[in-house]
Symmetry: C2
Subunit: 254 residues, 2 copies
């Protein structure tokens, strides 16, 4: 098993940021700069074409660390964040660019390519989680959450179905075709975000994915707006969701 | 114009509760026991068959008062909370009881009866709001919110469409038939709650009502569960929604 190696460290605003590698996988771990040692862990998956330290990742991580005292880990998906692209990656990226340039639907390519990436990413995530749980400040006893939209959902749904260590998840903004069958095996609490006016994902497709989860507790948050207009308050909602389910109190009205 | 008369006062846990009347209408106003004088006002509508001080009303009011420092007012709907029932009320209540006892759908009766009650309740609410705004601690300048599910939505949607003083609203758990046309005239921010497994309200009906609002900012919260199983965390979400839109800060993660 590959162990975790820290490669860089920085701190600001009460948050420590440590870059790490687990084998070929590059990641980042955000933690409280001070405070109690052991705390729950939230894994976050980034969107397609971005990377582990994209602004959305850093912003959500800061909310989770400073609001709840959690650890937050993100890894670069295969072919993302400077990780090498395969010939398959190059073909699919080119196909997405051609479709976009031609004004053709990019959805079918995203669905099939992200399903392929998930096959590579799920074992990487599980090895990374093994390695993270070796750290004394995380350990194997604490609860683990997963938070990822877009490609973060395409990878997170099969990851969550495969790994019983994940006990609460925030997903959303993805098509049902490649994921609904897998979602039927997921029973943990789920918060699911979709955009009511998504120009790429038909409304019934997003709804069908939400419907597929077997979770007794699941909540759909559908916001007016287009594909990339998920409101920032959904990140705050996710923080409260994880606070409820991973066991740290968040200051909220009584 | 009928003015507001206070008829009883009590305080507990930092919240002052004052019963009042405006003409024939009976109401309650919850306020911070101490603190800055003038504050935003949230009007709340209770569900069918309950009353102004039902546990859901008192619980939500306490959250809004202690969390945000708001004033919160609830009035008894016509025929509710000890207010006299008309012959029409008695006929409709009997019809609902018969349908329930016979295992027949109660929805069509609720829809038509609540539309009737809304015609009586909207002018009562507007007169009550006039009178509440005469109070120095409320005034005419501050923002006003509306929060009501079930019958509270059947009354609140036409009230909000009619009264431009209401600038943010939480609705939900109602059929579209009697309300969708009116909802199309509403443009303020809306949070809308529905139950994914509602045994009375067909899923497409609740969704059609959410879809009808013309609001640029609107959010659907759909929770797994039956008609009466709206999760308690939706009340906390409503508090944060009003804090965002009525201008008081709530302690939340950064």
């Amino acid at each position: 098993m590959d162990s975790l190696r820290f490669t860089a460290k920085a701190s600001s605003d009460g948050v420590t940021e440590r870059d790490f590698t687990v084998g070929e996988v590059t990641g980042v771990l955000w933690s409280p700069a001070s405070g109690p040692g052991r705390a729950p862990l939230v894994l976050m998956g980034h969107g397609g074409g971005t990377h582990k330290k994209a602004p959305a990742m850093a912003g959500r991580a800061h909310r989770l660390v400073t609001g709840c005292g959690f650890h937050v880990a993100v890894i670069d998906a295969p072919g993302h964040g400077g990780r090498p692209r395969t010939a398959h990656d190059e073909r699919e990226v080119a196909a997405m660019r051609r479709a976009t340039a031609a004004g053709e639907p990019v959805g079918p390519i995203v669905v099939r390519y992200n399903a392929h990436l998930a096959e590579r990413a799920v074992p990487e995530w599980r090895a990374t989680l093994d390695a993270l749980q070796e750290l004394p400040e995380i350990g194997t006893e604490g609860p683990v959450g997963y938070f990822g939209l877009n490609m973060g959902t395409a990878i997170g749904v099969p990851l969550t179905a495969a790994d019983p260590r994940i006990t609460a998840a925030v997903f959303g903004v993805f098509w049902h075709e490649s994921l609904a069958e897998t979602a039927k095996r997921i029973t943990i609490p789920v918060e699911f975000v979709l955009q009511w006016d998504d120009e790429h994902i038909p409304r019934p497709s997003g709804m069908a994915l939400f419907d597929a989860f077997a979770s007794e507790e699941k909540t759909l948050h559908a916001n007016a707006g287009r594909h990339k207009e998920v409101p920032r308050f959904e990140a705050d909602s996710a923080v409260r969701f994880f606070a409820r389910h991973l066991g740290r109190a968040v200051p909220t009205p009584a």
